[in-house]
């Protein structure tokens, strides 16, 4: 068998090249695989090989719970081997390119081109250039139309796919919503297609019948003269709408209690438990708060067992709870008690992120932080009550201050406050009130601190609001960058206390993010142009180049402000209008009107506002 010998020889050559490169690059353990709990299968016993790609570095991707879930669940399929692939850092990329080493999967070391399915999990838009770069590093044509064969099938999932259009020319298909079931069905169909010798075109029209699968080539954008979308025309028998896929039995659904344990430090180097999906709060700016609805929770005893199993299987010394709003988990106290019973004798740390200031329990925090008192973080998002009401952020100033008082009395002296600038209806008064709130926190410390000798650190951070698809603010204009900078300057000038540190997010990234989030298919050419000019790892400041993006927009004849800074009328066809996210567009419209009236909407537990997401449960109930 000459072919096999050739393949083997090539592999040896690659290994030899890699051996020489690895000592030269930063943190080589990111590129070797071999970690504890990695899944190795016999190539001869599998007929579908999937490369699960995360378009950012190993440290970020390995921290991602979605990757851990999909890796586990796909590998539970007989005859399917799913391996991990991450974006190399620049030094490694240079070595790979100069030594002709194509991008490989960590478990087998095999190049991506040999795989049947290449699936990207995309959580944020700034990773788009990485997708193109990774495909190119693998020697795979970046555009779907330049890949006539059935395999490798290149697809994507993740929150960014809520608007699949900007990357529509590159992916063969997108999974809208949660991948647990859709990915498996897709791989089974791919197996069938390989067996029966289906063409790619035949396969894609079959795949479009799977709930939650969006096949971009089955929709054709038609534009008006002013550049807005006239329609996304359905071709062949494409479904009118692609409904977001969810796991209806979340409580009983798969959870990875044996995740891969990295041999090098990653960003979230700990066990992560998933308490619930969705959020009862409905903050109007928050995409996650709408696109993961309805609320589905996991049973407290199941969570405790999953936590203990994960700790025992990984050896991690830390566990954290993940959800959009930890305080809203109904049995939070019982969960913490159950976990602490296991953790305390073993010196394992438990951390609680995403606590709300309004029902924050100091007792809980005290229980959890038995060893160290780290900082407290609040996200009031806006400075005045009026604006907090307008964005439906149900936090009152007195709640924040009374929580701070309890914290200061308990000896805490490190507080972080997060805000957004550029929210709809924001005025100078709202901006200045951010400084005012920080001053009130400072004076609460002066009045109530149990230990003034240590001083206080108050960190105020602001980011620039980015309107996102499938939110009440999806029609909003982003404030332009000069205006954003003016507001930052205004706030800076009014926050002079020594104890307060002010950090602001740079406007450039937020502007590009705003374009990519609500872009149409034409934005794909801009992404490609940026990548061709060296764009990659755009979420890293050492790689992001605003100039490169602006040059690309110009070259493609597209105005970024048309996408970011233009208010869209209600009757405009939005690029994501073929996606049925579950929450009804009328609900978003109503919520936007409520914003302009400055009115709050109740959270889902107080009163169901009929957002529509419960229909995704197919008769099941929403735990809102």
């Amino acid at each position: 068998m000459p072919k096999l010998t050739a393949l083997k020889k090539r592999m040896c050559d690659m290994d030899k090249k890699l051996l020489r490169i690895l000592p030269k690059v930063q943190k080589p353990a990111r590129y070797t695989g071999g970690e504890y709990n990695q899944i190795i299968k016999d190539k001869a016993s599998v007929d579908i090989r999937m490369a699960l790609c995360f378009p950012d570095t190993y440290e970020i991707g390995m921290s991602n719970l979605g990757i851990r879930i999909l890796y586990g669940i796909i590998n539970e399929m007989d005859g399917v081997w799913c391996e991990r692939v991450f974006a190399p850092w620049g030094d490694m990329e240079n070595e790979m390119r100069s030594n002709n080493i194509p991008l490989w999967a960590l478990e087998s070391g095999d190049p991506l081109a040999e795989f049947d399915a290449i699936g990207f999990s995309i959580g944020y838009e700034m990773a788009y250039t990485n997708v193109l770069n990774m495909l190119d590093l693998a020697g795979i044509p970046i555009r779907s139309k330049d890949r006539p064969e059935l395999t490798p099938l290149v697809f994507a999932g993740g929150t960014s796919c809520c608007n699949p259009e900007p990357m529509a020319d590159f992916f063969d298909l997108c999974v809208i919503g949660e991948g647990e079931d859709a990915d498996r069905e897709l791989l089974l169909l791919l197996r069938e297609a390989k067996k029966t010798g289906m063409s790619k075109k035949e396969f894609l029209s079959e795949a479009a019948k799977i709930e939650g699968i969006y096949v971009p080539s089955l929709y054709e954008p038609v534009y008006n003269e002013d550049g807005t979308l006239k329609e996304l025309r359905t071709l062949e028998n494409a479904p009118e709408y692609v409904t977001r896929r969810i796991v209806t039995d979340f409580d009983g659904s798969y959870f990875p209690v044996k995740p891969v344990v990295p041999s090098t430090e990653i960003v979230h180097d700990r066990v992560t438990l998933e308490l619930f999906r969705g959020c009862i709060r409905g903050c109007r700016f928050c995409q996650a708060g709408f696109v993961y609805r309805p609320v589905r929770s996991r049973n407290v005893n199941r969570l405790i067992n999953q936590g203990i199993d994960s700790l025992e299987n990984t050896g991690y010394q830390e566990i954290t709870l993940s959800s959009l709003s930890t305080s809203d988990y109904r049995s939070l106290n019982g969960l913490c008690d159950g976990l602490l019973d296991f953790c305390i004798p073993k010196s394992i740390g438990l951390s609680l992120p995403s606590l709300r200031a309004d029902n924050f329990s100091m007792e809980l925090m005290d229980k959890v932080h038995q060893v160290r008192k780290s900082g407290l973080t609040f996200a009031p998002e806006a400075g005045t009550q009026r604006l907090r009401d307008a964005i439906n952020k149900n936090v009152r100033e007195e709640d924040i201050l009374s929580t701070c008082r309890i914290a200061f009395e308990g000896g805490w002296n490190n507080i972080k406050l997060y805000f957004m600038l550029g929210l709809p209806t924001e005025t100078a008064e709202d901006v200045l009130a951010i400084g005012g709130l920080a001053m009130k926190v400072l004076s609460a410390w002066k009045s109530y601190s149990s230990n003034k000798s240590k001083g206080i650190n108050i960190t105020v951070s602001t980011s620039c609001f980015v309107p996102k698809p499938h939110t009440p603010f999806q029609w909003e204009a982003q404030v332009d960058m000069d205006e954003y900078r003016r507001r930052v300057a205004l706030l800076r000038g009014n926050m002079r206390a020594k104890a307060i540190t002010y950090n602001w997010h740079d406007a450039d990234t937020s502007f590009v993010e705003a374009v990519l989030s609500r872009g149409d298919r034409r934005i794909g050419t801009v992404i490609e142009e940026v990548w061709k000019n060296g764009g990659k790892l755009d979420s890293w400041s050492e790689y992001f180049s605003f100039e490169r993006w602006m040059t690309a927009f110009k070259k493609c004849g597209l105005d970024p402000k048309f996408y970011a800074c233009r208010e869209r009328p209600f009757d405009e066809v939005l690029p994501w209008s073929r996606i049925d996210i579950g929450v009804k567009p009328e609900f978003f419209r109503h919520e936007r009107e409520m914003c302009y009236k400055g009115l709050l909407s109740p959270d889902c537990r107080k009163k169901c506002e009929n957002c529509g997401a419960v229909l995704l449960m197919k008769g099941g109930r929403c735990d809102g």
Binding site: T32, Y36, E265, N313, T314, R372
Partner: protein, 219 residues
């Protein structure tokens, strides 16, 4: 249990795990194996483990030593068995025992190496390499905190032999493990500086044995 010592190998894909990451990896492996490491007292308790000689990233070893304490009794034959089920690929425990020695008494170590020459005959290099390393003094620049200084590595090489094996030269050397430490990679950089025609395109090393100052095997 009082001070115990682990002898383990670190080869294959595991050679890229850094020293700091190895400490974390070991602690997690102990936990997974159900072996309770003893922790220090105090505000920030840390596991009481220490490694003999930090191994540089990219170098393999079959004689790494790590001292540790357990808070519960465990049979010494059981420890390697339990740990080996809990370690990542490439790290393998060879033995656990009660040490009679201290790490500071390590003086020499055996190093196996391979020098690869691309498109050049390795046979031709052997005698040149022998001559080069039998010099009484081999002075090379060495980077340190205050800039670049010169260091003579010859006294740190107790013995060195070369043997050609097709496209590469195998080397066996006994070099100073500490006071001063000779990182085997300096053997390659010495060639690059002083005898570039002998410098390999790539050098890989494996630690194979530790000795005390009298050349008794260190345990």
């Amino acid at each position: 249990m009082d001070n115990l010592r682990l002898k383990f190998s670190k080869t294959g894909r595991a050679i890229y795990i850094s020293h700091l990451d190895l400490m974390r990896t070991m602690q997690r492996a102990f936990f997974r194996a159900g072996l309770k490491l003893k922790y220090s007292e105090g505000f920030n308790p840390h596991a009481q483990i220490s490694f003999a000689l930090p191994l540089s990233v990219g170098t393999a070893s079959c004689c790494e030593l790590m001292d540790f304490r357990l808070s519960e009794f465990m049979s010494l034959t059981e420890i390697p068995f339990l740990l080996n089920k809990a370690l990542p690929e490439g790290i393998s425990v060879l033995e656990a025992y009660e040490p009679q020695t201290k790490f500071k008494d390590i003086k020499w170590l055996d190093v196996d190496g391979a020098f690869e020459y691309d498109g050049r005959s390795a046979d031709d290099k052997v005698s040149g390499l022998m001559d080069f390393f039998s010099q009484n003094s081999i002075i090379i620049p060495k980077k340190n905190k205050s800039g670049i200084s010169e260091v003579d590595i010859a006294p740190s090489i107790k013995s060195i032999e070369f043997d050609s094996s097709g496209s590469f030269v195998r080397l066996k050397a006994i070099v100073s493990a500490q006071n001063p430490t000779l990182n085997p990679e300096l053997l390659v950089s010495a060639l690059e500086h002083l005898a570039p025609e002998l410098a390999p395109d790539f050098g890989a090393f494996t630690r194979t044995q530790l000795y005390d100052c009298d050349m008794n095997i260190f345990r």
